[in-house]
């Protein structure tokens, strides 16, 4: 195992990775910036390197230099920032630093969403009807839309987080939507290419957790992340209520087998997530693959007893994976963000004047913050992830209610009250979850 690794990330990611690394006896070098340098959790790191500039978490060469100076032999990219940047991965390899993740080539293949779709389709993974690769022009887009039928979704090839994305419901709107989405994608990602998919409205977002050691891949069940607002996940759970009963179990089995085959064909190394969309008839379609650990990996850990960060580090050091535990029970994660839900989920930086975390059986809270810490305006608004686990979904929901009731945060408004009310929503309790559920009920949940 590596003796000393650098975590090329900030905030909660660092505290999560650090916890496992240090348990394994691996020293941790953390990064910080001038904006982040006062966060108290950094004291737990064996060494902290201040890169200065606010945007330095994206500065690959500076991070590699920091690895060298701090004598780190591996870099864990966490999620976000450089975690899906194939160039950074390649630069690390060239510098003799192990990038904890798949190879640059695999990342490149999956990062381009059009090529990912093609690769997956070729390996038998069902994909949403859409364009074969990027669309050259708006008129080509119109042509494809006619074939697959409206409504359609235009998406940026290099996109994510909902930017460069447009829903088009009728042929008259397609040209304007194409131009606008393309312009937005150029601005956000420096790549204006778009592709098209049939819009599956109010489907379920179901994702499969994969872990591979470059030879063998294993699926650790799925997560449903349908509770979203503007494509931002707020609550995730496993197993998916959409895969209940005998037919659900069969679908899980079938998709897992295809996913395993596809990942083994790629020689996939590390943690990855296959994001799929389930339509109202229960068909699952491939959307994209995230070649990294997810924010919501926690609930998979809770139902399997596996430490995914540990597995990531092991496969990076060329361990063969043992047979991983199969999931059992149910787990839910609520993302507690510093956002004003009533004001359109506006991020609200500020100081945590009170911060009391729930405790108890089945309750886990992942956070990097302590009372007195300031939430920076420069980065994301995540305060904590509250995870509740039980033998059944009902138990997990009850545990989550108790947990959120016990959570006290003062100083900034958070998403917690909204999520607490969601837990009482009958549709949620019935498992009738889809990506439109939250927005459809937003008004009553905010009332």
């Amino acid at each position: 195992m590596f003796r000393r690794i650098l975590i090329a990330n900030r905030g909660e990611v660092v505290s999560r990775v650090m916890r496992t690394a240090q348990r394994l006896g691996v020293e941790v070098v953390a990064l910080t910036t001038d904006a982040d340098k006062n966060l108290s959790f950094l004291e737990g790191a064996d060494e902290v390197v201040n890169l200065g500039a606010t945007r330095a978490y994206l500065d690959g060469p500076a991070i590699i230099a920091a690895c060298r100076d701090a004598r780190c032999t591996a870099v864990h990219p966490g999620w976000g920032f450089l975690s899906e940047n194939p160039t950074f991965a390649a630069q690390c390899e060239a510098a003799g630093i192990t990038f904890v993740g798949p190879s640059g080539a695999t990342m490149r293949q999956m990062a381009d969403k059009a090529s990912a779709r093609e690769v997956m389709a070729a390996m038998g993974v069902p994909t949403i009807p859409g364009s074969d690769g990027p669309l050259a022009t708006a008129s080509k887009a119109a042509e494809v839309a006619e074939t697959i039928g409206y409504p359609v979704l235009l998406k940026a090839v290099s996109g994510g987080g909902g930017r460069g994305m447009r829903i088009v419901r009728q042929s008259g709107d397609i040209e304007a939507a194409f131009d606008a989405a393309s312009a937005e994608a150029v601005g956000a990602f420096g790549d204006g290419r778009l592709y098209m998919e049939k819009l599956i409205e109010n489907g379920r977002h179901i994702e499969f957790q994969v872990m591979g050691d470059a030879r063998r891949a294993q699926v650790l069940g799925e997560r449903e992340c349908s509770i979203q607002r503007r494509h931002q996940k707020l609550l995730e759970e496993t197993p998916s209520p959409g895969l209940s009963g005998e037919s659900g179990a069969q679908a899980r089995l079938d998709v897992s087998a295809i996913v395993v085959r596809a990942c083994e064909a790629m020689g996939y190394r590390g943690a990855g997530t296959i994001e799929m969309l389930m339509d109202s008839e229960g068909n699952l379609y491939f959307m994209e693959m995230n070649t990294r650990l997810q924010v919501e990996h926690t609930i998979t850990e809770e139902v399997t007893g596996e430490d995914l960060v540990q597995r990531q580090l092991e496969v990076a050091a060329n361990h063969f994976l043992p047979d991983l535990n199969a999931p059992s029970g149910a787990s839910i994660q609520c993302r507690i963000n510093a956002e004003d839900t009533a004001a359109g989920f506006k991020p609200t930086p500020g100081e945590l004047t009170r911060f009391e975390l729930p405790k108890g059986e089945g309750i886990r809270v992942d956070t990097h913050l302590q009372v007195g810490d300031k939430i920076s305006p420069h980065y994301d608004s995540m305060i904590a992830k509250v995870i509740a686990t039980g033998r059944t979904r009902a138990e997990a929901i009850q545990a989550m209610k108790d947990a959120l009731d016990g959570l006290v945060i003062e100083g900034v408004p958070t998403t917690a009250p909204l999520l607490r009310r969601l837990l009482d929503l009958p549709q949620f309790n019935d498992g009738a979850t889809d990506t439109g559920l939250l927005e459809r009920h937003l008004e009553e949940l905010l009332a």
Binding site: R4, T73, I97, R215, E314, A317, N318, H319, F320
Partner: protein, 671 residues
Amino acid sequence: MKLKLDLIGNDLALSDAEVAENQNHHGAAGEALDSKRSIVREGWGAERAHRKGKLTAWERIEALSDPGSEVFPVGTLVNWAREFPGSKRQAPGAGVITAFCRVHDRHVMVIANDNTVASGAWWPGTPEKIQRGQEMALRLGIPVVYLVDCSGLFLPEQSKSFPGRRGAGHIFKKNSELSAAGVPQIAGVFGDCIAGGGYMPIISDRVFMTEAAYMVIAGAALIKGAKALQLTSLDIGGPEVHVHQSQCADVRVPDDTTAVALIREEVSKTCSSAVPFYRHGAKPEAPLRSSGEIESLLPKDHRHIYDMREVIARLVDGSLFHEMMPGQGREMITGIARVSGLWVGIIANDPMPHPHPDGRGMRPGGILYREGIAKIAAFSRACNADGIPIVWLQDIAGFDIGAEAEAQGLLGYGSSLIYTNSTNETPMFTVLIRKASGAGYYAMAGHPYEPVVQLSTTASRLSVMEGRTLAIAAYNTKLDENFEIASSDPDERASIAAGMAETEARIEADMDPVRAAAQMDTDEIVKLSEVRRWVELFAEASYQASGRRRIKNPRIWSMHDLAVLTSGTRAAEDRVPQAASLSENRAAPEDGATPVSAPMDGSVWFSPKPGAPAFVEDGAAVNAGDTVGLIEIMKTFSPIRITRGGTWLGAALEDGAAVEAGGVIGWLRPD
């Protein structure tokens, strides 16, 4: 155009008692060999390695090899019984295992420090043994896998392993030569890898390091201040440093098992074996006669003769052999056969007596006479020209000696053979089946002529001359014309007899193959029953790499030219001896019998198909125009018809015999 292969070999022509005696003798020698092998394999015991959570070198080799495949170690008995000042214990196998292993259907040379023997230290003999393994791989172009776990030179004896042309440093020259020749080298470092040992993996194309491994020019023990800083060798040269910082190694792995698994995977990325291609559509086949029978037929007493063709029959696929130039120099056997479906040339000594070419009666076999030398030199050149690997089977007493031999210029013929063997590029392998004496050992591609591998058997006798011969030479002035003691003084007679006996005994001990193996004068000792499997390995390893050496397809072999020029076409070879001998054996069955002759050249058959009843039974009446047989030429069958009525007295030839036009095929009593 392909060479026709003949089924050779017969049932053992020995009494049950003789067979039992031979088997007991060779069996006991095999058991003695097995016990030495297991002592070497045991090393100093696996305990220490296991305690450290490591595999032993042999366990690594087993994990590396394809499941169920055989490992062929070379140099097992190097340093056997050798004592070292400064060590209470001996160094079994010189503390290193060199072996041919099969990995993903490729033969590879594995060179593994025996971590159970003084933590894999290099003893006197170790560097040479490693270089020998490297040389074999270089000659065959097969990948080399180094399993490095070496604490450095055994220092009390460093003067015997460090300097000199074959000193430890020469290993790295061999690493370089292998690399320059495009031979893949893969190294796994499993533990200590200090000083010179550090270079062994570095030149390899891929280097794997376990978390317990380090490579250092000097260990922490030699570094000033290391103690105060609590620096270990792992700190200064472990995977942290060499995989990431210096990048002297490529991949870090948690443990031995993973390292071996990844090395296996790496081997699978090298060129696949060309063996199936070079089989030219043939399937590998076991000898029709069991190779286990070699122990039954090789006489217990080394002075007794046997038919080497019977040994060949038990070594080659389907016991099928095409003997080249069978009419000349019959005490030398040259021919082509398939082993594991692959063409190999065989050059062997036949101990049986054969007629003197001048018709002066029989002369002893297993000796190089002029015709035999010329024959094997020409055959050796032809194999080289065609890219056919050669297997030499030695049971040679030496060159013919005496006035005739000198007058014929055997020195010149012998030198021509030596020149051929020295410059051949086709892979050559030598097996000392029994005697390997004097210049005969050299002429038959013994070790000094650098065959890729030279094997001894438990029956091998390697020497300049047999003990008896040396005793005669030493006491020459005391002996008469018949090499009997000349003196009549009883005391002097006794003293001469004792002296000669002592000389004989000393040479006998020197001829023990174990001694040759201990000092690396032979690569490995094998049992007679194991020779076939080794020859399979030789054939496969010779054809594994494609694009490295000349391998002509059989249609364009120069061997065909040689066959035509020396003894005519194959069909003619068949025709002359068989037709003649059979006609003689089956002379006219009665006075007045009329011969029935063959209408054309070909092979004769007396029934419509093998096993079917004859066209005409012996003693049956026949009419003019009746068919009594078929004549086959070029796969076309023509009837042999009787021209007049009478009684068919029987065939003069056996089914399938070759006959010339006009030759007698049977007998008729005309009406």
